[in-house]
Symmetry: C2
Subunit: 314 residues, 2 copies
């Protein structure tokens, strides 16, 4: 384990968090959140989703949020899109990274985006074509998130070979990368390793560098630990653990950015994030969303005595 | 990672949990808890502590609890003792396993057991002599828990070489084994590996097989994962995460037995514990302690759809 190893934390709170709650933050409040995390050192933020405002009014201003976030030098501005239409909007808005979920459970896919697997593959193909029309120096990174890859509340266990096959199929369509999503928080570290190495063997290591984990059964950090141990370099997480998936019952709770940064920095990984500042950001954002449940342990316990020295002596 | 690998979960709730709360459970209620966990497959339980009743009235009936617990065939009945006097009482009661804490932080040692390091080493020496007077077929396993080994709320960082040296010193006194305790929840997986392998190199692998972790900063399961990955075979945990250390401010929260069993069983480790039964035990014990904070995620989310099949197909 090299002490200089860098891990990119991709903050998903402004998308996954806000889509899960009823409070609608103003664009200014969202930008206060995004800027504060940027100033604490966060360098990738999923700032919203191009979904019809009738479905998720919380994210109706995503185009404005993308535009304002693009002003933050060095920040990768990521968005989620459910379909081709959303992808077009994301390209028009200038998002740096576009993710589309492809649920490994067809039952979940039908609930979440009202599409079968074959309809989603068709949609992804059209997205790839749209992304490829963008001049290469401005072209967004296009990723397919293999959601419910670790299990589904509707279908139960998901066949691991099927996940690997689907990864290959979407990569064959020309997407830049796939991501593994534990949408329902059913995953365990051994399964994460099997799925990751399975996809790596079939498709190449550069085709899967990030995971999106939930803490539904308290396994979030353990799964993240195994991920970074085997060479995953991007971990999604959410400030205060805000979020989950509104269409997968019981799937509450992203992994908590603060606790993840604590683990990684304490172990000698470099996240580029100043944890003391991040804990201040948490307090600041919690004031914007006073009625929501905020999770996390490091924020309650505080940083250990000697934390600064620890950072210095590494 | 072998699927047949066995991990012993040592339930510490009846000791670490009950010492941290004001409610005093009756001996009958404690035995209801202990029997229920035993019936769910738990095979080591720390049932109490031989501390003066004036200090911890919650544990005043430890001798009776030990006696009743000894009736459960195959259960290792463990107790904590703060000093020689407690050790004598533990031997007289017939405990199978006796642990004494030696805090790596002298400031914490003074607060917790009112003794310096050298006074504690003297105490441990006397305990070893007392244990050795017991006929070998009835002799309890005597362990020193290296508490605050991962950091102290009073002293901050603890020198890792010092921890390894102290492990060697107590083993030289004739104790059977040392354990690593993250009393303050400051530990991280890399540190756990350094401390464990450091002690193994100096003292032998059989001299350190168990860890006692806290979830104060949400790192409990990640630390447990690294522990079992490197070959630790006993993990302490507490039903519902009840407990912590009353004399180390902020040191709340043992790791949660239910979530630990979920992780290990899902990964293919064999804990011998029936998780569905254990979740019932949690509900049962929570009724005995209705005013306490109960932690844990698996209990809230429930077992994943397909869990039984998962267990069968392994």
């Amino acid at each position: 384990m090299s002490v200089t190893k860098q891990i990119l934390i991709s903050e998903v709170g402004p998308r996954d968090g806000l889509q899960s709650i009823n409070t609608i933050l103003s664009t200014d409040d969202k930008m206060q959140w995004i800027r504060a995390e940027y100033e604490a050192g966060v360098r990738e933020i999923e700032v919203g989703s191009f979904v019809p405002a009738t479905v998720l009014p919380q994210l109706a201003d995503t185009a404005e949020v993308v535009a304002a976030s693009r002003e933050l030098t060095g920040l990768t501005v990521a968005v989620l899109v459910p379909n081709f239409r959303g992808c077009e909007a994301a390209i028009a808005a200038g998002a740096h990274k576009i993710s589309i979920p492809l649920s490994m459970s067809e039952a979940h896919s039908l609930k979440n985006v009202k599409k079968t697997h074959s309809a989603m593959l068709e949609e992804i193909k059209r997205c790839v074509q749209a992304v490829q029309t963008v001049p290469s120096d401005q072209r967004p990174h296009f990723e397919v998130g293999l959601s419910t890859a670790f299990g589904c509340t509707l279908e139960g266990q998901i066949n691991e070979d099927f996940v690997i096959t689907m990864a290959q199929r979407v990569l064959d369509l020309g997407v830049d990368e796939v991501g593994l999503s534990d949408t329902t928080g059913m995953g365990n570290p051994a399964q994460l390793e099997r799925l990751t190495t399975g996809i790596w063997k079939k498709c190449g290591e550069s085709k899967l560098t990030g995971v999106h984990l939930h803490n539904t059964r308290g396994q979030g950090l353990a799964n993240a630990l195994r991920a970074v141990e085997i060479g995953i370099s991007t971990i999604d997480s959410s400030l205060g653990g805000l979020g989950g998936c509104p269409f997968a019952p019981g799937a509450s709770g992203n992994i908590i950015t603060e606790d993840l940064v604590f683990m990684l920095e304490a172990m000698g990984f470099d996240t580029g994030i100043d944890l003391e500042k991040l804990l201040c950001v948490r307090r600041e954002v919690a004031q914007l969303l006073p009625n929501e449940a905020w999770y996390g342990f490091t924020s309650l316990a505080g940083l250990p005595l000697g934390w600064s020295q620890q950072a210095k002596t590494r």
